[in-house]
Symmetry: D2
Subunit: 342 residues, 4 copies
Amino acid sequence: MYNFQSDYLEGCAPEILEEIIKNNYKQVTGYGLDEYSNEAKTLIKKALKREDVDIHLLPGGTPCNILAISSALRPHEAVVAAKTGHIAVHETGAIEATGHKIIEIEHRDGKVDPKALIEVLEKHNDEHMVKPKMLFISNPTELGTIYNLEEIRLLKEICKRYNLYFYMDGARLANALAFKENDLKLEDIPNYLDCFYIGGTKNGALLGEALVIVNDELKQDFRHQIKQKGQMLAKGRVIGLSFKTLFENNLYLKLAKHANKIADALRYVFEALKIPFYVESPTNQIFVILDNDVIKKLQTKCEFIVWEAYDNNRSVCRFVTSWATKEEAVLEFAQDLREFLK
Amino acid sequence: MYNFQSDYLEGCAPEILEEIIKNNYKQVTGYGLDEYSNEAKTLIKKALKREDVDIHLLPGGTPCNILAISSALRPHEAVVAAKTGHIAVHETGAIEATGHKIIEIEHRDGKVDPKALIEVLEKHNDEHMVKPKMLFISNPTELGTIYNLEEIRLLKEICKRYNLYFYMDGARLANALAFKENDLKLEDIPNYLDCFYIGGTKNGALLGEALVIVNDELKQDFRHQIKQKGQMLAKGRVIGLSFKTLFENNLYLKLAKHANKIADALRYVFEALKIPFYVESPTNQIFVILDNDVIKKLQTKCEFIVWEAYDNNRSVCRFVTSWATKEEAVLEFAQDLREFLK
Amino acid sequence: MYNFQSDYLEGCAPEILEEIIKNNYKQVTGYGLDEYSNEAKTLIKKALKREDVDIHLLPGGTPCNILAISSALRPHEAVVAAKTGHIAVHETGAIEATGHKIIEIEHRDGKVDPKALIEVLEKHNDEHMVKPKMLFISNPTELGTIYNLEEIRLLKEICKRYNLYFYMDGARLANALAFKENDLKLEDIPNYLDCFYIGGTKNGALLGEALVIVNDELKQDFRHQIKQKGQMLAKGRVIGLSFKTLFENNLYLKLAKHANKIADALRYVFEALKIPFYVESPTNQIFVILDNDVIKKLQTKCEFIVWEAYDNNRSVCRFVTSWATKEEAVLEFAQDLREFLK
Amino acid sequence: MYNFQSDYLEGCAPEILEEIIKNNYKQVTGYGLDEYSNEAKTLIKKALKREDVDIHLLPGGTPCNILAISSALRPHEAVVAAKTGHIAVHETGAIEATGHKIIEIEHRDGKVDPKALIEVLEKHNDEHMVKPKMLFISNPTELGTIYNLEEIRLLKEICKRYNLYFYMDGARLANALAFKENDLKLEDIPNYLDCFYIGGTKNGALLGEALVIVNDELKQDFRHQIKQKGQMLAKGRVIGLSFKTLFENNLYLKLAKHANKIADALRYVFEALKIPFYVESPTNQIFVILDNDVIKKLQTKCEFIVWEAYDNNRSVCRFVTSWATKEEAVLEFAQDLREFLK
């Protein structure tokens, strides 16, 4: 039985595990002030080619989103996101729980539509409405698609014109960066985004993400916010060791390249078997349309997510590969699927 | 250089580390629904001798407090705590950030004073005031003292009379249970408390705590709350493996007994050198009153926390031992202190 | 210059003013516990033919919505509303500020579409999503349309099946009740709704609305909520006197009938002049589509609200009549409009 | 039966009532943008001798406090107040409901103790604690005492040194200003306070208070906040007419002088009858210590508030006079009290 449910199903990359073992008895300061976290931050800054950013290592993606948004906004200010955005759908109202409305707008394959964005910004023009103050994107999006440099540049321009902060959820950022046709480099991101996070949980870390704050306005007292929202782990060392190792010897990209490569293999399988794609995604999430009876059979052999009904007989299914997925899993899957399609 | 700053300075108990290594490549469901978490819950229920409780494994103590309190209270309801309570002082307003007032009352060595409690409950009698609906205690307290069974019984009676939920922060619960004169057994706790947590972070877990919900009224949709507050780790396996191992072969108590034993040794050192105690605590936190110039010298050799000024020349200092503290550290410390007192 | 901007532009009905004058020096208890408020509640209960409801007199519509929703929901629960719903658009995120998501769904002329409602309820089925727990409608809607008895019955059925509270914003309820083809009587409402408010501000009160809580689950400690949200006026007498008078001698309906009658006259004018309606509304709000150059001319003579662009050359405009609008205003307006259309 | 319960028991000053009557049919813009509100603001600015302040007319004192505090603070920031402060005790957790902790400190007769203030500010020095960012005072205090100019100056200096906003609840400000030995003039206040409100509800307005924002940092988008918190009355005209009239012909001070004068008469009565004062207050609130059996007898003749138990046989009682209290009430009361003391 193989599992394509998500990319956080295994423990952590072996290089990280080694570091955890090696340093287990070393006494270090708690709450993210340990030496591993400090080294991790230095390495990430180097990778970003920026010394002037603040980096906070946090336990998960929802924590990053909660903190980046709630710390930046005044009570009447809102964040704009695609209807499919993770904060809009799959965080149980975490943002609203901090008091802020999410203005949900139309998307194209999970990406914010600039025209829909401008329309909604123009409409919010008086004190009886919330004031849009931040744009949220995910990259890759929840549908596995990615933004190219020009798209990011255009959204930034809109943000500037309308005085919005620009924030990016990078839960699977590594998989975007590892895609060879991607033209948005890691070091470009701080030139456009005010704040973003580099995902670890879904790319081989034992757990954790690295939130990067670029805009000085958003930096003040951020550790107070982290503590208040219950996101300051006494055992910050775990995230520190994860990110220190991920950013040594290019491990971060190496792991994502593996996941993407396996995803490519899986894509070939679907193509070869004439399975239609729901969306064209170049990263480690694949969305295909399968007959419901095929799905049932596949589920006896394999775990994956049935995303939503497509029509009466077919459903959209999501398959995800990870830094740890083996090629054999794809081969085995291909055989099974071929069998079930007969 | 030895370090008595706190009990979360090392990685994790070797037994846990082994489990993490052994299961690293195993694919398991995320978000706390993995098999390790399930085993952990089964073992904890067994230790509690209760099948009818809900258990949630959470990444830290502040998250437990935030969730237990904010999920239970309606907007106008408040939690009562000792002035020294962790939620009142050291969580950056985490409870208030969820909308609830903490009514702070007098304490005796960190323990809630029943008389002060009743007084404040009697006073809150109209709609212009918040309605007290929960009592918060820490056991051991922030000053290392513990509640005995009779004290818990009395507080429970007050809670019943005034219709309060009774909640316990057990960040260092193991150290209370491991104290030989303690008469409050683990399995007693669900008979008195509506909700409490069993600390792991400070007793050898890689990270995490086990929140136990006893009262049925507090159970509904709790996982929605966890997700909303950003406390549902995709990598729930890490906490699952920690608690599964802690509750196998009595490891949980074994680790705490070690910490307490070393603390006893440290207490003897202070007694022998005629250093006055700030409070009489039987667990792994020791509070003593030291001359400020001695403190300065000690700080060249040893890390510990200067808690607060005692008078113009002396300060209260906190020394904490852990599951990993070695006896040699105490011996070395004794020599240094003796030297500095000369 | 006449003004059709809204129905709260004048002071109050003369009958209310008389009461205010008459009782000015009488000393009464504050905070809504005065004798006028008590009388008002008695009269409203009589009109509702229900003794078992709780009534709270509040200063405005947004306060009613904030209180009814935030008092009823637990942190992870959400309210469902039409995209055009007042809480979704025109209350500056007041509901989100209390921590709750508004799930916005499609509407038909401002009314909740039952199919869209069921779809969204079916989708919200796990702990990564908010839990829908209340349905919000406005009656009349923000577009002046009204729900008939059968529509209310159907929505109630859906609420029951999915375990939702059913709440109605009745800012202009009088205008629905005063419409002769309306088949939903005031005394029917408590049979279907768990909570609703009877608007006063827009129907001749000096200020205020009467929130009616039908469902016992929503009644407890409601005055605590009112105080906490800053909605307990020391001078509750003002709202008390307004509602006491409105519910004597059928004044409440009489005022609304006047507003509707004048609105009918205005509708005839638009029809006669072949101005297309944006929506068919039977109450005191009229939405028509006017050429932008006609609008500019009209604005020199008359105040009204330009609702939104209809196309490049035309806009939707809203005209509202009130208990105090005079027939002459309509005649004068008719002459002006005819002139400008030439 | 005469009533000394509070100063909001009557309707409004006759001058205001006349204005309400006179303008009843005039159509004016809603939401506080009416011409009366504008005139009121102009008059208040004139009285303050400041053109550069923002003024918002709000329905009550708790709304002013909620808005001034929640709009100014970031999530981790707290407000410091005396333990007896209205926000700390009698607003049902309204401030905490917006997410902010109130740090409660010792007081002297209701006034913030500068030493206690400095102590608490010094202690809040790391990210595990909230960050004090605003000082709240009431003037007169909840015990009827007032701050003199030098006390205000000193608190301002502390606020400056520790980077706090300085905010004043002026529910009964008129009664402080009307006290002849008071040396803090209305026009002094903006030189020291960043934000404060001038109470109307308790000084003859039909309802409402005037919030004055002095510090530019606190001004932005304040009307968004008002709307979000449900404090933007469609019928803003009522508050506008009240304040316009209060600030014409010095009515504001005239009404307060009357209340103070009657309070002085009442104080003489207590002095003459050798009733001890609980606190020495120079304004329209009087706190005396009465035997419990005398209280019972008095309650048959007169309404007042039994504040708290003083000892087993005596209680602190509060008597308040208003702009409308007649001298005869005092005379009658004096006779009754003398009788009951026999």
